[in-house]
């Protein structure tokens, strides 16, 4: 196990903390909204998926950097 492998692991591990929290918050709020107003479920879902994709993109950036560090 070389140092660079540890760095690759740390990149994705630290980089996915914030997006994980963000996705959890987004989905919990969306579920609350659907619980309050079930008729708006379709609309809330569309916006929720968009928000999740935005939050997920941040994790993906660190993943791309980890993959570049590992394979290039």
């Amino acid at each position: 196990m070389s140092d660079s492998n540890v760095i690759v692991g740390a990149t994705i591990a630290i980089g996915s903390i914030a997006p994980a929290l963000a996705i959890g918050l987004i989905v919990s709020k969306a579920l609350e909204a659907i619980g309050r107003n079930p008729e708006a479920a379709a609309k809330v879902q569309t916006v929720m998926i968009l928000g999740v994709a935005f939050a997920e993109a941040i994790a993906i950036y660190s993943l791309v950097i980890a993959l570049i560090l590992k394979f290039v």
Binding site: T46, I49, L50, A53, E56, A57, I60, L67, I68, F71
Partner: protein
């Protein structure tokens, strides 16, 4: 058997300086398939015969049109061709990477096929195309007033805000490109690693996950383009 993962698409042959990569081959095949489908679908619409397959395609297109209408109610017909093309191309180029034989058939030492969107060049091209079409739609709707958003000399704060708007357009290109490439390439790495650890059956649930991810990423790419076009075509002040 060694784990074979390459972050960039490998060239399968050269036209002089130009390297034709395996991702380009798959994108070209997907474009060709979609074009043939589009031509035969328009021929079907002109003829009077019935076909279950084309009714199925019509149902998909209609439900997607309703989705576009729910975001851009007034101008759905204007934006639909661009958004649907982006959606269909991204979805099928991502799904093409899951077909058997992709990344496993070798030709002169490199894989002959590779998922279309698992190459940063193609997602970057798509992202530049999407952002430029956002600007073109903005200009066509608002005229020169559209560029006032970026170059506003009325006071220093507005000038700075315009500068930030200009940067955010370039940030959009990067986020479009890296989001799609990262998701699809990470999926392929995941499938390769799982297939390497457990040879049979274990990668089946992940295959289902990747089909879902390909669909969601295509939807996100198309929806974000649509939302940004919608923002660009409405005047602010």
């Amino acid at each position: 058997m060694a784990l074979n993962i390459s972050i960039s698409a490998e060239p399968i042959f050269n036209f002089g300086q130009f390297e034709f990569t395996n991702s380009m081959l798959v994108s070209l095949l997907v474009t060709l398939g979609l074009s043939i489908l589009a031509v035969s679908f328009s021929l079907y619409l002109q003829s009077k015969r019935k076909s279950n397959f084309f009714v199925f395609i019509q149902t998909i297109l209609e439900s997607f049109y309703e989705f576009v209408q729910s975001i851009a109610p007034q101008q759905a017909g204007r934006f639909f061709p661009l958004i649907a093309s982006i959606f269909l191309f991204v979805m099928f180029a991502s799904w093409a990477g899951l077909l058997p034989g992709v990344e496993t058939i070798f030709w002169h030492g490199v894989p002959l096929f590779r998922g279309g969107t698992a190459d940063l060049n193609i997602t970057l091209g798509l992202a530049i195309f999407a952002v430029i079409s956002i600007q073109i739609y903005g200009y066509k709707t608002l005229g020169m007033k559209y560029f006032k958003k970026f170059f506003d000399f009325s006071n220093p704060i507005n000038f700075f805000v315009g500068f930030l708007e200009l940067i955010s357009e370039f940030a959009r290109i990067m986020s479009f490109a890296f989001r799609l490439f990262g998701n699809i390439f990470a999926g392929e790495v995941l499938l390769a690693v799982i297939a390497f650890l457990v040879p049979v059956f274990a990668s089946l649930p992940f295959m289902g996950l990747e089909i879902f991810v390909g669909f969601i990423q295509a939807l996100v790419f198309a929806t974000l383009t649509l939302v940004f076009i919608n923002i660009a075509t409405t005047s602010h002040h």
